[in-house]
Symmetry: C2
DNA sequence: TTGAAAGCGCTAACAA
DNA sequence: TTGTTAGCGCTTTCAA
């Protein structure tokens, strides 16, 4: 049995109220008693009971962080930033991993209510995001990486369409004209990146082909294999909407015996450490990970201060990290591509 | 204000005890009341207050999982296994990330006591591991990946010396004779892998060179740069004791303009997804991640059942995944190596 | 500045 | 099977 505040009070010869005050530091306690209480705490090996404290004080001092996939460096980086800021504000963080699974999302949202958390930062699947706007949730919520359909929730996301445009303009400048994109189907960011991809292609007069796949290496790999094998005209460049899919794309290119970028260029989202080590290095969009986490916390804290604020969506700009995987297309291939039929009115056209 | 069990009781026209019993399912409640209580719960939007429940019932139903670095796929994989098993046993998991920082370790261990957790699974730094044996901790503890010096704590780790031996025997069989090893200095596993490396080299008559570095990409990279530049005789193979350091090794080889494996072979620990994509693929020791997590939970649950058990250390075997980065050494290079002086009594000899 | 006492929401005796 | 009641450990009035 661990000792309670009562034990400390008895040993120190004071009331429990005085011990409580000494611990919280909110009201003044005479130095004399302070010393005795300190000694009593050490003597008894007292540890405050957080459950009791939370129950009585009616605030948990805890925020929830519900993330889609901790194997994804994006989310681990964001979580570090969130935890840093939370810690500076004396808040604890409950970290949960949903594996992009709506059932787990529901479980964790329920848990957050039962823990009476102060607020939650959440990267929901599309499926759950859709229900969020009409749902009555017991705590302030800030979405990251993913948004709700009607923008009724605070959210912090990459400026996805701008990022897609950067990537497409880069590929265009390098001479690529036939580009295939693989997008995650589980999250709103996959959709936004897809839409930006399509819009940029339309504007630049590029031929494209797109596919949505589950957020798994294998799914991307399989999709790209089909793309590379079953088409008479191979895409000149492949784009993946996140780090996981990018891995699948590289695997598929390897398996097909294609050299990057000689046979096919590759680009994607998420500047993960390994991307610089693969082949000539992979061109990627780098997200401001730290800023996303810190901003999400700021938005949450402001929301706690002022619940009446209208919902806010913050877009943070990405950076295009150019590496060898998108080296300029060889002239003969460019000529080749320019001969082929270029449309600008049918962005989804299959080549 | 959220509603309490009292509100539910009032709406359902029963006592709070009956509602409590209905919720816990431990004692029988008549179907008639059950229905009314269900309706009342829905009507009031009741959510149990976990703080109150834990305070009164005197068990938290929570285990702590304190990990050294969530960016390391080893730890995220282990955490998934632990959470799976915990969930099956109706236990919650508090996941904490120490960044290999002893201060954070102390903070989180204290937190675990204040949360009154049922038990903890912990991957400590060497510094903290050293204090663990004499410390009086308020909960059962199972170490993973790292052990305490006197083996007074339950622990689940890779069979590090066997794994090092596998790697060295493979390199030996491929014709490599001059091998350098980079080891993490923060954890006991780095030490164990180093010791296995040295022992195997001694047995096989290999020339080796070793270095301990902080667990960071840059540290490994810097160390390897020195190794490659400042020696007249370059090592024929480089070994890294974890995924992070392996990345640094590859970076350094790249930066030095050395081809893998033609100019220098590379091998390491941790079969991370990216290792198959780098160059000809990297030869690595694959750890049984899932098994490590599940075993740690089993050990913890057994310990909770029977606190009197003696401390147990479980070693799990790894697997050597051979890829192109350790292709057989070209014959002329082998001859070269065999001419050079081979010692078997000075494992730390610098070549 | 200190203490007495109420009570946060819940579970678990005990009684009926 | 149900209700009454005490009390988990703490914070927070209120009074002294």
């Amino acid at each position: 049995m661990s000792s309670s505040i009562k034990d400390v009070a008895r040993v120190a010869g004071v009331s429990v109220a005085t011990v409580s005050r000494a611990l919280s530091g909110v009201a003044a306690v005479s130095p004399k008693l302070m010393v005795r209480i300190d000694a009593a705490i050490r003597e008894t090996g007292y540890r405050p009971n957080l459950s009791a404290r939370r129950l009585r004080s009616r605030h948990s001092g805890t925020i929830g962080l519900i993330l889609a996939d901790l194997r994804n460096p994006f989310f681990t980086a964001v979580s570090r930033a969130v935890e840093d800021v939370a810690y500076q504000h004396g808040l604890r963080v409950i970290l949960c991993n949903t594996d992009e699974n709506p059932d787990k999302e529901a479980i964790y949202l329920k848990l957050m209510e039962e823990e009476r958390v102060t607020g939650v930062i959440f990267a929901p699947t599309r499926q759950t995001a859709q229900t969020l706007d009409q749902r009555d949730i017991g705590f302030p919520l800030v979405l990251i990486d993913r948004v709700s359909p009607h923008g009724q929730q605070d959210a912090v996301v990459l400026d996805n369409s701008a990022a897609s445009a950067m990537l497409m303009e880069h590929l265009h400048a390098q001479g690529y004209r036939r580009i295939a994109g693989i997008f995650g189907n589980a999250s709103s960011s996959g959709i936004e990146r897809h839409d930006g991809f399509v819009a940029a292609a339309l504007r630049l007069g590029l031929q494209i082909q797109t596919a949505f796949v589950p957020p798994q290496i294998e799914a991307a790999q399989t999709e790209v294999r089909h793309l590379l094998l079953e088409r008479s005209e191979r895409p000149q460049a492949l784009v993946a909407s996140n780090g996981l899919l990018l891995m699948g794309v590289v695997r598929a290119a390897r398996a097909a015996g294609l050299a990057i970028p000689e046979d096919v260029a590759v680009a994607g989202f998420d500047n993960e450490s390994w991307t610089e080590l693969v082949g000539p290095g992979l061109t990627v969009i780098e997200q401001p990970l730290e800023a996303i986490g810190r901003t999400a916390m700021s938005i949450l804290l402001e929301r706690l201060d002022n619940p009446a604020l209208p919902p806010r969506k913050v877009l943070l700009g990405g950076r295009c990290v150019v590496r060898g995987s998108t080296a300029a297309l060889a002239p003969h291939a460019q000529a080749d591509a320019q001969v082929s039929h270029v449309v600008d009115s049918m962005p989804h056209q299959t080549f």
